[in-house]
């Protein structure tokens, strides 16, 4: 399992280093083991450098940069070991329009291998979907499904 952890870590890290610049239109990021000697206990640090910026403490990143970095890591793991489906609840909430476009483009690509369910308030994200499920409460407190037209939003 030590070997398996190390191999998986390497694969995910390689993918993460590819996915990050796709979502950020540049820059770089990598995972680092806090203790390479102890693979059973080591933690995982994330080093992030958005395009044109300097490598800094990951906490100084903006709300949107943090969310997009987390998405890059989640997607990197997903690409190494796809789940049959992936459910994302309003991960696009802190993202600006340009980042939402790149996020959706990547989901589009990954969706031929896995099923994606995106819960969202964002029109652009709705536009990338193949199927749209509208949920409403016509009778308060009682959820029902309705068919949706994108221009309702």
């Amino acid at each position: 399992t030590r070997k398996r952890f190390s191999e998986t870590f390497r694969q995910v890290n390689d993918r993460f280093q590819e996915v990050f610049p796709r979502l950020f239109l540049g820059g770089k990021a990598e995972l680092r083991l806090t203790d390479e000697q102890d693979l059973l206990e080591t933690g995982i640090d994330i080093a992030v450098q958005p395009p044109g910026k300097k490598l800094q403490n990951v906490n100084l990143l903006s709300g949107g940069e943090k969310a997009l970095t987390a998405v890059a890591l989640i997607f990197a793991i997903f690409l190494i070991k796809p789940s049959p489906f992936c459910i994302l609840d309003e991960v696009d909430a802190p993202l600006d329009d340009a980042n939402i476009e790149r996020f959706n483009e990547l989901v589009r690509e990954m969706s031929d291998k896995s099923q994606f369910i995106l819960i969202t308030h964002n029109k652009r994200t709705m536009n990338v979907a193949d199927t749209l499920y509208g949920v409403t409460m016509e009778s308060p407190g009682v959820s029902k499904l309705v068919s949706v037209r994108i221009n309702d939003f």
Binding site: P84, Q115, P140, G141
Partner: protein
């Protein structure tokens, strides 16, 4: 093990039966605040075997049963069924040859639970094992709840290793 259909009745705000048919590709779930979108995600987690009420925003598991509205009385049972396509012929011998596998979970207000695989009663363990064996089980990176995406970055380094462990 793709999701073909989800059926929800009596679960949280879905007091009336609702069926979502999932096809290939990307599905977007939309609607106003509080209409029930995240409750759908909770239903999927619950039918997959979630045992912690706190992970479903509740204080006890009874909180997932429709508790009533101004117009509607509470009900006595919550039931969620997940129909999966099994093209890969995965799963235990009893289910391997079925093209579809239906997972059903029920909770009664008195605390009784029922679990079914293809309408045959089973234990919760059979359900959680099915999901693990068929590669669906690693939920940590395949279900991201509302507001939780930031946790990966704010987590301590030791608390992030489970992501690699689950993918290993």
């Amino acid at each position: 093990m793709k999701i073909k259909r989800l059926e929800i009745v009596g679960f949280k705000s879905f007091v009336d039966r609702v069926c979502l048919d999932f096809s290939e590709g990307i599905a977007a779930v939309v609607g106003p605040n509080g209409c029930g979108k995240s409750n759908i995600l909770d239903a999927i987690r619950w039918v997959m075997g979630e045992q912690s009420a706190r992970n479903l925003r509740g204080r006890s598991m009874e909180d997932v049963i429709f508790g009533g509205s101004e117009m509607r009385k509470p009900v006595g049972m919550a039931e969620v069924s997940l129909i999966l396509s099994n093209e890969g012929r995965l799963g235990p011998p009893a289910l391997r040859d079925y093209p579809e596998i239906m997972v059903t979970r029920r909770l009664y207000r008195n605390g009784d639970s029922e679990y079914r695989l293809n309408k045959t009663p089973c234990r919760l363990l059979d359900i959680t094992e099915l999901f693990i064996d068929t590669g669906v089980g690693a939920r940590a990176y395949s279900i991201i709840e509302q507001g939780k995406i930031g946790m990966i970055l704010s987590a301590r380094p030791e608390d992030r290793r489970f992501l690699i462990e689950e993918a290993a």
